[in-house]
Point group: C2
C-alpha cells in the first residue's frame, strides 16, 4: 500500500489526484483529526505527531508514505528522511509535497533535473508553520535562484474551510487580507501555490478575488495534480518500490477522531461515501 498522511481530511484533495493518476495501487489514507490542525504547532510537536503517523502506516504495510500535509512536509520530512529512516526503516521511503510543488513553482517540468534560469516573482500561501519553516524558499533557491518568492501565512483559512465558510464576506475579508499585499506589490507574482491541502476548497473564492483585482492572469497551482504527476515520474524511476506495492486498487481510510464525522467531511471532498476506521497513534517516546 501507499500511505497518504495528512493532519486532517484536507489531504484527500491530494489522494483524489493520486487515485486519478495512479489508480492501480493500494492506498491507505490517515488523517490525524483528533489533533488537527498542525499549522500553528511547534516544530517539535509536528515532528513527533508526524513520526507517530508514519510509524503507524509503516506498521500497517505501507513501505512508501506520502506526507500530503505541507506543515508536516515542511517541518518534519527532512529529519525523518535523514535520521529516522536510516536508523529504523532503511528500505522504506517518505515523500513530501514541498519539493514537487517547488519544482512546479519554478516552472520546471517533472522530468527536468536542470536548474531554471527564470526571473520574476512567484508566491506561496501556507500555514504559519509552513511559512515559518522557510522550506519553500530553501527549495526554490536551489531550483530557480533568480526567482523572487513572496510568502504569506494564512492562519484562518483552515478554520474557515473546516467550518464550511467557503464563500461570503467573512472569508472574503481574510482572503483580501492575505492576498492584497502581494497583489499590490511592485512585482506581483506570476503564479501562486496553494501550499495547504485545505486551500483548493477555496479556489472559487480566490479566483473571484483575482478577477475583482484585475489579476486573473495569475496562475493558481493546486498541489494535487502536481504531486500526482511527480509521483508517477518518481515511480517510473523506482521500480524496486513499485514491486513492493500492492496493485489491487484497494483503498483504506482511517482517522484518529470520530470516523462518521470524518466520512461526512470526506464525502464533501471526494463526492462519494467511504468507510472509515478509527485508529490510535502510539507515542514513540
Amino acid at each position: 500500500m501507499i500511505g497518504v498522511f495528512d493532519s486532517g481530511f484536507g489531504g484527500l484533495t491530494v489522494l483524489e489526484a493520486l487515485l486519478g493518476r495512479l489508480p492501480a495501487y493500494d492506498y491507505f489514507y490517515l488523517g490525524d483529526s483528533a489533533r488537527a490542525p498542525y499549522g500553528a504547532r511547534s516544530p517539535d510537536v509536528i515532528y513527533e505527531f508526524t513520526r507517530e503517523a508514519v510509524e503507524f502506516l509503516f506498521a500497517s504495510g505501507c513501505p512508501l508514505v506520502i506526507l500530503a500535509c505541507n506543515t508536516a512536509s515542511a517541518r518534519a520530512l527532512r529529519t525523518l528522511q535523514q535520521r529516522y529512516l536510516p536508523a529504523h526503516h532503511p528500505s522504506h521511503r517518505i515523500l513530501g509535497v514541498v519539493r514537487p510543488s517547488a519544482e512546479a513553482l519554478a516552472g520546471l517540468s517533472p522530468s527536468a533535473v536542470a536548474t531554471s534560469s527564470a526571473r520574476g516573482t512567484v508566491a506561496v500561501l501556507g500555514t504559519t508553520g509552513t511559512v515559518a519553516s522557510d522550506s519553500y524558499r530553501l527549495e526554490l533557491a536551489k531550483l530557480a535562484p533568480h526567482l523572487s518568492l513572496l510568502q504569506q501565512a494564512c492562519p484562518l483559512l483552515v478554520p474557515l474551510v473546516e467550518e464550511g465558510e467557503l464563500t461570503g464576506p467573512g472569508t472574503d475579508y481574510f482572503l483580501h487580507k492575505y492576498l492584497d499585499p502581494m497583489l499590490s506589490s511592485a512585482t506581483p507574482p506570476e503564479r501562486i501555490l496553494l501550499a495547504c491541502t485545505h486551500y483548493p476548497l477555496l479556489l472559487p473564492a480566490i479566483r473571484a478575488l483575482l478577477v475583482e483585482r484585475r489579476a486573473a492572469s495569475i496562475e493558481l497551482l493546486d498541489q494535487g495534480e502536481i504531486v500526482a504527476t511527480r509521483l508517477a515520474e518518481w515511480m517510473a524511476r523506482h521500480p524496486e518500490m513499485d514491486a513492493r506495492l500492492g496493485h489491487g486498487g484497494t483503498r483504506r481510510y482511517a482517522t484518529t477522531d470520530d470516523p462518521r464525522w470524518f466520512a461526512a467531511r470526506a464525502a464533501t471532498v471526494l463526492g462519494r461515501a467511504i468507510e472509515v476506521e478509527k485508529v490510535h497513534l502510539q507515542p514513540l517516546g
Copy 2:
C-alpha cells in the same frame, strides 16, 4: 495545589480570576496546546484527552482540579465524576465551569440552593462541542425550569482569538453571524453567557456590536468571576479539601507544546511574564 486545566491558554482568563479571589492557594495551570482546540472534537476524544490531563495534575500533587475548559466540562466532567473518580481517585475532586455558570445564568446567587422561578430568555455562546452536549440546557432545566435558553455555536471565535483578530471587519462579520439571530428573535436574551475561555478577549467587540444593535442593556456574563466566586463558596463548604491544599501562593504553568510560545500568549492574557514548563501527557489506554 489546585490544578486548572484548559485545552490551551484561554483558561488563563479563569485562572486570573481565581488568583484575584483566592490568591493564597498554590496553583498548577496546564494547557494542552499541542492538541488545542477541543471545541469541534468528538466526545470520546475530548474525554480521553481530558482524562490524561486530569491524571497528570493528580500525579503532580493536585487533589482538586478545575476544568476551566467549557468543552471538557460539558463533554467529560460527568463521566469523570461518576465513573472515573470513584474507581481510581475516590478522595480527589474535579469541578467544571458549566454548573456555576448555569447558576449565574439562572440569576441564582452562589449561596442559594433554591430553584429560580424566573421567566424570560437567556443565551449561551459556546464551541460546537459545548452546544452539542446540551449541558447548559440540562443544568438550566434543573435550576430555572421556566427560563428559555438560546444556544449558539461559534466555531470561528477561538481561531480568531488565537490569531489575535480581536477587532476588525472579519471578526465583526462572524460576531454578527452568531449574534444577530438571537438579537432579532421575538424574545431576545436578558443575559448572554460567554461559555468559552477565549471569548472574554472579544468582550470589547461584542459590547460594540450590542451598542450598534441597540441591545446594550443585555448583560454579558464572564466566567472568570463566576467560577472564582463559586469556588470560594465551595471551599468554605469543604474544609477537608482546603486542608489538603497548599497555601504558599505558588504558581506553576505547563503546556504540551512550545513553552516560549505559550508564555508569549499568556503574557497577553495575564499582563505579566511567567515561566512555563513543557510536559507530555501519557495515553491511559
